[in-house]
């Protein structure tokens, strides 16, 4: 059997030449088409393209079929955008981006619109049930909730690493700090759902109210929102942009949908594999990554992602986080290196409109790499060269990693 190794991203390099997004939160007065339009027009404007330049469209949403009774999203997009190009609909934004990259790399498309949207608040009373579609049905039948697997993973983690007593207190505090930190970042993000600080005490009180280890302030909210980006092939980027952001690694991996059936329930195998492969494609080491947007559906998952992606050793991320957050300077300090994580506020505070979430993650890395993040711009040691985005579908069932670079080397 031949093994694939070190396959580069091809000669048609995909580059992001424009990004756009809406504010996340509840958009009671806006339908999904108005949200997509806003994000798309912003992205097109920042890319300097016309509608007619778009050769294909990859869109993403999880639940538009349920929330807005739209069965063929592509036709819906075609109708309001008056475009008749090939369109494909994925679940997550990262999945749409990955497929768009494939389209560009193959040489088939020069300019591609990637857009994601979600309108979760339109089904406020049923959306938690809808979210169970992302778990295996047997867990649902047994009474699982969107939060329960996070709680179980936390139990597995502290048992595996024998965290108890004062260590457990520190562990719990480290997760609380993640929420505090993400809210702190979101305060400077005009698009964020929660532009407000929370205190450690408030996070802890949320847990007390919930009567368990993860409470209200540990979980990402229910959100509406849309995001978009314009992807272009290296052949033509110069016509539109002097400083595009290059997608130098694009990878995904898949795991069992049934969480109890996975051998290791203290990490996401899919994240680990996707990151490893993305780094290979990008031809850089993990130490090269200076800024990362990870999928903090809960504070626990931000911590777990740090290990899955190789930033922290297994069983150690919570210590790195705790030590960095005692006097937070805007980054995690890991073995003397700075790593900026979820500088847009993460899913926790920026918001989590599922199909659009990955777009906001990419948006943030693009802005940071371009130095256009305004008062959110990170204080890196040197120039920011590489950033990455981890997006999950389901509870670690699918993982997508995109590595973005300021320059194509």
């Amino acid at each position: 059997m031949t093994r694939r190794k070190n396959r580069k991203m091809g000669s048609h390099h995909p580059a992001i030449i424009g990004v756009g997004r809406t504010k996340f939160g509840e958009h009671y007065e806006k339908g999904p088409e108005m949200l997509i339009e806003e994000a798309w027009l912003k992205a097109s404007e920042s890319a300097g393209i016309e509608r007619k330049d778009i050769e294909a469209c990859y869109s993403s949403d999880y639940f538009l079929q349920l929330t807005n009774k739209i069965g063929i999203e592509e036709g819906f997009i075609s109708e309001f955008s008056e475009l008749h190009v090939p369109m494909e609909k994925m679940r997550s934004f990262s999945s749409a981006l990955l497929n768009a990259c494939n389209g560009v790399q193959s040489g088939k498309y020069g300019i591609v619109l990637v857009g994601g949207v979600e309108k979760m608040t339109d089904r406020w009373d049923k959306i938690r049930d809808d979210l169970m579609l992302l778990e295996d049905p047997w867990s649902y039948y047994a009474g699982c909730t969107p939060e329960a697997n996070h709680d179980l993973m936390l139990r597995e983690y502290i048992k595996k690493y024998k965290i108890s007593g004062t260590s457990l207190e520190t562990f719990n505090l480290s997760l609380a700090h993640i929420s505090v930190k993400n809210h702190h970042h979101a305060k400077l993000n005009e698009y964020a759902q929660f532009q407000s600080e929370v205190s450690v005490d408030r996070v802890l009180k949320g847990r007390l109210n919930a009567g368990k280890s993860l409470g209200l302030f540990d979980f990402a909210p229910i959100s509406d929102g849309a995001t978009a980006l314009i992807l272009a092939s290296s052949d033509i980027t110069k016509e539109y942009s002097d400083a595009p952001i290059w997608v130098i690694g694009s990878s995904s991996a898949t795991d069992y949908v049934t969480f109890p059936s996975r051998d290791d329930r203290t990490s996401f195998m899919a994240s680990t594999i996707a990151m490893k492969n993305a780094l290979k494609l990008a031809d850089i080491d993990v130490e090269g990554i200076q800024i990362a947007e990870v999928y903090d559906q809960s504070t626990l998952l931000e911590m777990i992602s740090m290990e899955d992606m190789g930033f922290s050793q297994r069983g150690k991320a919570w210590l790195h986080i705790y030590n960095s957050c005692k006097d937070y300077e805007g980054f995690y300090q890991i073995d003397g290196r700075r790593l900026f994580v979820n500088t847009n506020g993460g899913l926790k505070a920026d918001g989590n409109p599922l199909g659009a979430t990955g777009g906001a993650q990419v948006f943030e890395i693009v802005k940071q790499l371009k130095g256009e993040a305004g008062n959110r711009q990170v204080n890196s040691d040197g120039d920011l060269e590489y950033g990455c985005v981890l997006e999950l579908e389901g509870f670690g069932t699918k993982a997508y990693v995109h590595i973005l670079a300021r320059e194509l080397k």
Binding site: D125, K126, R128, D129, M132, D136, P137, W138, S139, Y140, Y141, A142, G143, C144, T145, P146, E147, A148, D151, L152, R155, E156, K159, A210, G211, K212, T258, F259, P260, S261, R265
Partner: protein, 503 residues
């Protein structure tokens, strides 16, 4: 969820917790699989059917669910976690049932690593006109009310000339309400007449140790089937794998039928089951009769609400055959008259009854008639009978009828269980019979007389055999255990009504 094809597939797997094991590498799976992921194509045709229905699991990790999804709201808050079987070879998701979580903080770590037993329950709430979803991914702790018991199958040793009972089981829930002189069993919120029937049948199989595939017919008597049309017996046959299993079609080679005649729906079938196993051309070695009820009663301030002081919840199952009999059926007598003392019209949720009329021309007349005629037939005096059991809608009636028939307290007290469990309708006199069988010695005579409103009575005379003693140790979940267990939990009136209404 309420789509019938999905429900069929989910409950087929989930009710019995069916799985597969690779005979090459030994890897186990929850859910049936045609091949092993580890061994690949070479494992085709080498997968063995297994199931976890009688197994003991371990709760590995868990959490409290205080905000369930919509269909689970009535269950909450509850404990949800991961359960492993067979030394962690298989892991399944599961919910702890039979557990009322109090407001105080719960130390999750005290629940973890404890052994649990699968329980057959309703899965979640559903619309009034939908299929009722069920599952056995509900668990209770093995060291509490419901013990884990192995399910063994052994070859019978002895053939009898007279058919009789070869095994039996009783199931009442651990929840009770205590008012004045009576304690009454009440279902947990995910229980109903169907789940109790399966539990009692399971206990009878554990006690009898017969091969369930040799059961040719199952009768389930009930007046509280949550369906107007759809048998309980089909669920019992499927979950307990009664009759030979036609694996390719998922069909059991068994006849299953529900019967209804108020509280004698089950006892009426004792004679049919006995006759069936006795008839050689039927080729039916065993037949099972279950009486099950989540006894219905209107709330106290409504018409018919008097029953609300007496109703219980429970089920009993009896297996009849001619091998390894523990109590032979000597004779029976049944009588019937069209006496409308208690009834429930279709589409009505609760029964009505004729007040005083239910006692005098109804209950007493029919029971006395049946008992006297049977004793005459067998030329027996009350003093020849060791145990007398009658239908027990309250404490007063069975004592009065026994006394009037000439029985003494030591003859009727063992079979009088109504003060502990309430009136379990179709399960009532059979539970009394089970309590007697739990303690009877060989060669003792039992007279059981059921009563069904509408009205009729069945009297049976049974004689215990030597084998009653040797089989007794097989059952830990005895009537006495269910009555006296330290894990019995008492609830208030509001909880009782809520639980009884169910999901």
């Amino acid at each position: 969820m309420s789509s019938e094809p999905i429900e069929r597939r989910v409950s087929y797997i989930g009710d019995r917790l069916r799985g597969s094991q690779c005979s090459i590498c030994g890897k186990e799976y929850f859910r049936t699989k045609d091949y092993c992921g580890k061994c690949g194509r070479k494992s085709f045709g080498k997968m063995q059917d297994i199931d976890f229905f009688y197994e003991k699991g371990k709760l590995e990790v868990c959490t409290i669910v205080r905000e369930p999804t919509n269909k689970f709201t009535k269950l909450g808050p509850y404990i949800y976690g991961i359960i492993s079987f067979h030394d962690e070879k298989v892991r399944v998701p599961g919910r702890l049932t039979d557990c009322i979580l109090k407001d105080e903080e719960i130390d999750i770590s005290l629940l973890e690593n404890r052994e649990v037993v699968p329980r057959f329950r309703r899965r979640c709430a559903t619309g009034q006109s939908d299929i009722i979803p069920t599952i056995s991914l509900a668990f209770s702790f093995a060291d509490e009310y419901y013990p884990h018991q192995n399910h063994e199958i052994i070859k019978p040793k002895k053939e009898y000339e007279t058919p009789g009972i070869v095994g039996y089981g009783v199931y009442v829930s651990k929840f009770r309400i205590k008012e004045s002189a009576m304690e009454r069993s009440i279902p947990f919120i995910d229980e109903d007449a169907i789940t109790a029937a399966v539990e009692a049948g399971k206990m009878a199989l554990i006690h009898s140790r017969i091969d369930p595939s040799l059961i040719g017919k199952v009768y389930v008597g009930s007046e509280s089937n949550p369906y107007a049309v759809k048998p309980i017996a089909s669920k019992v046959a499927q979950v307990l794998k009664l009759g030979e299993e036609e694996k390719l079609d998922g069909v059991q080679s068994v006849d299953a039928v529900d019967t209804e005649f108020a509280c004698k729906a089950a006892t009426s079938m004792f004679k049919d089951a006995s006759a069936l196993v006795y008839y050689p051309r039927a080729h039916i070695p065993y037949a099972m009769v279950i009486g099950t009820d989540n006894s219905q009663a209107a709330p106290r301030d409504e018409i018919g609400g008097e029953l609300d002081f007496f109703v219980g919840y429970g089920s009993s199952a009896f297996i009849f055959g001619i091998h390894d009999v523990i109590a032979e059926i000597e004779a029976w007598y049944s009588c019937t008259s069209d006496t409308p003392d208690f009834w429930r019209r279709s589409l009505e949720p609760y029964p009505r009854h004729g007040g005083r009329f239910t006692g005098d021309p109804a209950y007493f007349k029919h029971i006395q008639k049946a008992a006297r005629r049977l004793m005459e037939k067998l030329k027996l005096q009350p003093s020849d009978i060791d145990y007398f059991v009658s239908h027990q809608p309250n404490i007063r009636f069975p004592i009065k009828v026994a006394t009037e028939l000439g029985f003494k307290e030591d003859q009727y007290s063992a079979g009088l269980q109504v003060a502990k469990f309430g009136n379990t309708y179709s399960g009532a006199s059979p539970i009394g019979l089970a309590a007697v069988l739990d303690e009877a010695k060989p060669n003792e005579k039992i007279l059981i007389v059921s009563y069904g409103s509408g009205a009729g009575a069945d009297a049976y005379c049974l004689t215990t055999t030597n084998q009653i003693k040797e089989k007794r140790s097989r059952q830990k979940f005895t009537v006495q255990h269910q009555c006296e267990s330290e894990h019995v939990e008492y609830v208030n009136y509001d909880t009782y009504r809520r639980f009884k209404l169910g999901l």
